[in-house]
């Protein structure tokens, strides 16, 4: 072990003691897309004890430009990302236990997977799951590291229960129309920069060097050459329902979840988002058609042809019908690709 991790042990922030701590830790990675694959690779190479990775999607050609673990072979085999990630991680470091879960990160599943882990890495592509992660983190008092990117822009923030504000303090509500990689594009360096911020923080937590954690919210734009680091102490909300004095963990409750239902007799799934508010269909139509999607709409709804065989019809209140599938998980994936 010493030779393999010698350069990391030489680094004073970790040392022999830190490496021993790291080697006994278990990390849960939610999502095995660009951030998930990158975070997993760094942590597995660093010699953590165990990693659990959950994802509901499979590897597609458009992933290969930035999702560093995957290959053309994975695309040809349409391997679930969790399975493909496990396969490649095992070849990188056979000493690390890797547990792969194919499926949706629902509140029940997340609460179950989180028990006993030391850290949760956010590698999801939507705010609904992040709010669930946030509530589970607070309920079980386990830190998590938010990371997200789109275009050349990225951000990260480390959330430690009892010490920092939580995501619910910052956002107060789920943003209904967040830009995603499928609507705003993405370049690999933005992904890598988020991974670098997330994994540096992860190593500090795993080596138990708590005092060195970054307390600021970082965001950057690698194309526009912007970098900011915000002090966050004022963001703490003592009445926060996730981390305040009387927490109810609202995102673990049923009403606040995206509701899906297969429409009877039709190859269609309906999705009703947990966030309430109005979507600007005009703006969404412009954005999607500039990306080459075929869209057709009226003041009440927008119909979008997707690459596969699905068609999604989005209503102003965020409700959507996904035609061409009966698979609830697939429908949710399609929905969140477009609406975040």
């Amino acid at each position: 072990m010493n030779e393999r991790y010698s350069r990391q042990i030489l680094f004073p922030g970790i040392g022999k003691e830190g490496q021993e701590k790291i080697s006994g830790k278990h990390v849960l990675i939610i999502g095995a897309g660009a951030l998930g694959a990158g975070n997993a690779e760094v942590l597995v190479r660093s010699g953590i004890g165990k990693v659990t990775i959950i994802d509901r999607d499979y590897v597609e050609e458009s992933n290969l430009q930035r999702q560093q673990l995957y290959t053309e072979e994975d695309v040809a085999e349409k391997l679930p990302k969790a399975v493909a990630a496990k396969k490649h991680l095992a070849m990188i470091n056979s000493a690390v236990k890797v547990q792969a879960h194919i499926g949706d990160a629902t509140p029940e599943v997340l609460e179950d997977l989180t028990r006993g882990v030391d850290l949760i890495m956010d590698a999801t592509d939507n705010f609904e799951t992040r709010m669930v992660i946030n509530d589970v983190s607070q309920k079980l008092q386990i830190p998590w590291i938010y990371g997200a990117c789109v275009g050349s822009f990225g951000m990260s923030f480390t959330i430690v229960p009892g010490k920092t504000p939580c995501l619910n303090c910052l956002l107060r509500t789920i943003p209904l129309q967040g830009l995603t990689c499928d609507t705003g594009g993405i370049i690999s360096p933005a992904v890598q920069m988020v991974i670098a911020h997330q994994t540096a923080e992860a190593l500090k937590i795993l080596a138990e060097d708590w005092d060195t954690l970054r307390k600021t919210f970082v965001s950057f734009d690698l194309w526009r050459n912007q970098y900011t680091s915000l002090k966050m102490s004022k963001a703490i909300n003592k009445d926060c329902l996730s981390c305040g004095s009387n927490p109810t963990y609202p995102y673990l409750e049923h009403e606040n979840r995206t509701k899906t239902a297969v429409l009877c007799g039709r190859d269609t799934v309906q999705i009703r988002p947990s966030a309430s508010g109005e979507i600007s269909l005009e703006q969404l139509a412009r954005q999607l058609s500039s990306l080459g999607y075929k869209t057709k709409g009226n003041p009440y709804l927008l119909s979008v042809e997707l690459e596969g065989r699905e068609r999604i019809v989005i209503f102003k209140d965020g409700r959507a019908l996904i035609h061409g599938t009966k698979d609830l998980t697939r429908a949710k994936t399609v929905y969140q690709k477009i609406l975040g």
């Binding site: 999502g31 897309g33 660009a34 951030l35 998930g36 956010d122 590698a123 999801t124 592509d125 939507n126 705010f127 992040r130 990371g147 997200a148 990117c149 789109v150 275009g151 822009f153 990225g154 951000m155 910052l170 956002l171 107060r172 509500t173 943003p175 129309q177 967040g178 830009l179 995603t180 990689c181 705003g184 993405i186 988020v194 919210f217 965001s219 734009d221 526009r224 912007q226 900011t228 680091s229 915000l230 002090k231 966050m232 102490s233 004022k234 963001a235 508010g277 600007s280 703006q283 975040g340």
Partner: protein, 77 residues
Amino acid sequence: MNKVLFFAHLRDAVGKESVMIDAAGNTVAELKAKLTKVYKLPKMDVVMTAINEEFAQNDEMIQEGDTIAFIPPVSGG
């Protein structure tokens, strides 16, 4: 006067990285409303705001000379 910085898609919507505007005496929410009108910005209610590199709530009052930054949370990953 106040310097207002825009990040990510807000920068594209405004067409430049920053603008100078007199916002002293306004709350963050009032400034958001003003900018939404002038630049036809997408919804600003969940955009994070910083005053002088410190997170600010919607009801925080802006002072003369403060630098304000608007950072939209993104969800990609």
